[in-house]
């Protein structure tokens, strides 16, 4: 599988504070949870047992897909602090 290696090869400078914050109460009521499949970096995963989104901001590619697809207003979405986040080398 190519996918298994995909995420491992992108370079990041991760900031201590997340640049995206999510409102779990809103996500719990969301009917589509499009972020959980459409995010190309797989930052969002619905956890049935915890009844919440497991969210990782670290591998975020800063594309904005989640921001566009979230119609519930659950996201406080910002770019990472200047100089942090994804750093494409050749792309």
């Amino acid at each position: 599988m190519v996918v298994d290696d995909l995420f491992a090869l992108t370079s990041f400078r991760v900031h201590d504070e997340p640049h995206i914050r999510i409102n779990q109460n809103t996500c719990a009521k969301c009917t589509h949870r499009a972020c959980t499949f459409a995010c190309p970096a797989h930052c969002y995963e619905w956890s049935e047992e915890r009844g919440r989104i497991d969210f990782a901001y670290e591998p975020c590619l800063e594309c904005g897909t989640c921001l566009l697809l979230c119609d519930q207003g659950a996201l406080d979405w910002n770019y990472p602090v200047g100089g942090f986040g994804v750093r494409f080398r050749l792309t």
Binding site: L6, P40, C63, G82
Partner: protein, 436 residues
């Protein structure tokens, strides 16, 4: 951002192609320019799966632009694959006329190209500040007078702000120039870069030396509106997909799994054999065409490049970087004029729109303004590639059954895949979008 920044003539936000060309031009004409970039280096947040087409003002921005820029390959060959199930029909165009400098189009790496252009702006006297995120616009009444930067929201003032902050232009939004972003006007691009020996690339795509090819794929997206692509760089292939966001949402599919399927398709797999994955990236693209272009100016501010949604596809041409560089240049020319007159009002800056309208930038976008909505038909991405492949297969298949003429094959294939009503509607709409 501890250092107190002085006031500048102009602040350019974003050191991509639009921003760097604007900054470069204004610095050349003696303006005091600050070029801000949120990435560690220009281009480090940018993704490109593509070819930059030739455009004329390049030589005005940098003499010998086409000789000096850090290209990967020049494109002499364009291939369109239509995929359906196990079948694939390809159309290949190649021309020796694309093999003379200045070439018709080039492949490149954004972290390298964008950095080069921003450094040219620096050499011309612009001040480049990287790792600097712009967080807000500063106002005096209805007039934009600068930007807030960094975590401490330090203020930097200027007579004019040129917003080249990319597809998610929060600045254009904050300035009230554009409405909210909507999924039906955006596409997600996912791309992986694969390393492959130069000789293997040349052999597989039948190229010589620095010649390059582009491949586009239709019918490879599981019925989701979008397509696949392969672009050749010197020793790498850019392989990826573009997926309309609203269609992706409806599909419930993961983009990286769609990508996995794509690279498994026979024609794609063959190009990639033995290639090593080196980098994965994703980015949004403005896909709304002419109708998505926001208001381009207000008092003390202009918008250029992806931030102004200056990007389009008509199915065959995918253009963005050339529009970004040209719009940056035209924004610069407008600002230079504004300084001559000492007038930074919306009325004075409206010249920018006139310039874009007179150039290929808004002319092309207007010519293909119907294409964006035409390409919102799902049939283009599954039924038609299927139709074409079933006709081709029937034409070539030898099984001892009596052969039919092409018309009959075509008609039978149509009956199985698309209704007459849809076919006529699509032909008319497609015709209006692209043909006449």
């Amino acid at each position: 951002m501890e250092k107190k920044l002085k006031a500048f003539d102009v602040i350019v936000v974003g050191a991509g192609p639009a921003g760097a060309s604007a900054a470069l031009r204004m610095a050349q004409k003696g303006l005091d320019v600050l070029l801000l970039e949120r990435g560690e280096t220009p281009g480090s947040k940018n993704m490109f799966g593509g070819m930059m087409p030739f455009f004329p003002v390049a030589e005005e921005i940098i003499p010998d632009f086409w000789e000096k820029a850090p290209w990967e390959r020049h494109v002499v060959k364009r291939i369109l694959h239509m995929i359906s199930g196990q079948s694939s029909t390809a159309m290949e165009f190649e021309s020796d006329s694309f093999n003379h400098s200045p070439y018709n189009g080039y492949t490149l790496f954004r972290p390298i190209f964008d950095r080069w252009l921003a450094e040219e702006a620096q050499k011309a006297g612009a001040q480049l500040l990287c790792s600097c995120l712009v967080t807000d616009i500063l106002w005096k009444g209805k007039h934009v007078t600068g930007v807030a930067v960094g975590r401490k929201h330090g203020h930097v003032r200027a007579k004019v702000v040129v917003a080249c902050d990319g597809v998610l232009s929060f600045l254009a939004q904050k300035a009230g120039l554009r409405q909210a972003f909507i999924p039906s006007q955006m596409a997600l691009g996912v791309k992986a870069l694969f390393r492959l020996r130069e000789a293997s690339i040349n052999e597989r795509f039948n190229l010589a030396r620095a010649q390059g090819a582009t491949c586009e794929f239709l019918g490879c997206t599981n019925g989701i509106r979008g397509g696949g692509f392969i672009y050749t760089q010197a020793e790498t292939l850019s392989v990826g997909m573009v997926l309309h966001l609203d269609a992706l949402k409806k599909s419930g599919k993961e983009p990286y799994l769609l990508f996995e399927e794509f690279v498994g398709l026979t024609p794609v797999r063959r190009y990639l054999k033995g290639a090593r994955l080196v980098e994965y990236s994703a980015h949004l693209l403005p896909e709304g065409g002419y109708k998505m272009v926001p208001k381009l100016f207000t008092d003390g501010m202009l918008v250029a490049g992806d931030a102004a949604a200056l990007c389009y596809t008509n199915g065959l041409n995918q253009e963005g970087m050339n529009l970004a560089l040209t719009s940056g240049f035209m924004a610069a020319e407008t600002v230079i004029d504004a300084f001559r007159k000492g007038d930074f009002s919306s009325k004075q800056l409206s010249q920018y729109e006139d310039r874009l309208k007179e150039s290929f930038v808004l002319k092309d976008m207007k010519t293909f303004k119907e294409a964006a909505s035409w390409m919102h038909s799902e049939r283009l991405f599954s039924a038609y590639p299927q139709l074409i492949n079933s006709i081709m297969e029937e034409l070539y298949r030898s099984d001892g059954k009596p052969r039919k003429k092409i018309g009959k094959i075509g008609w039978d294939a149509i009956k199985g895949t698309v209704s007459k009503r849809h076919l006529i509607a699509d032909l008319l709409k497609g015709g209006r979008s692209l043909v006449w």
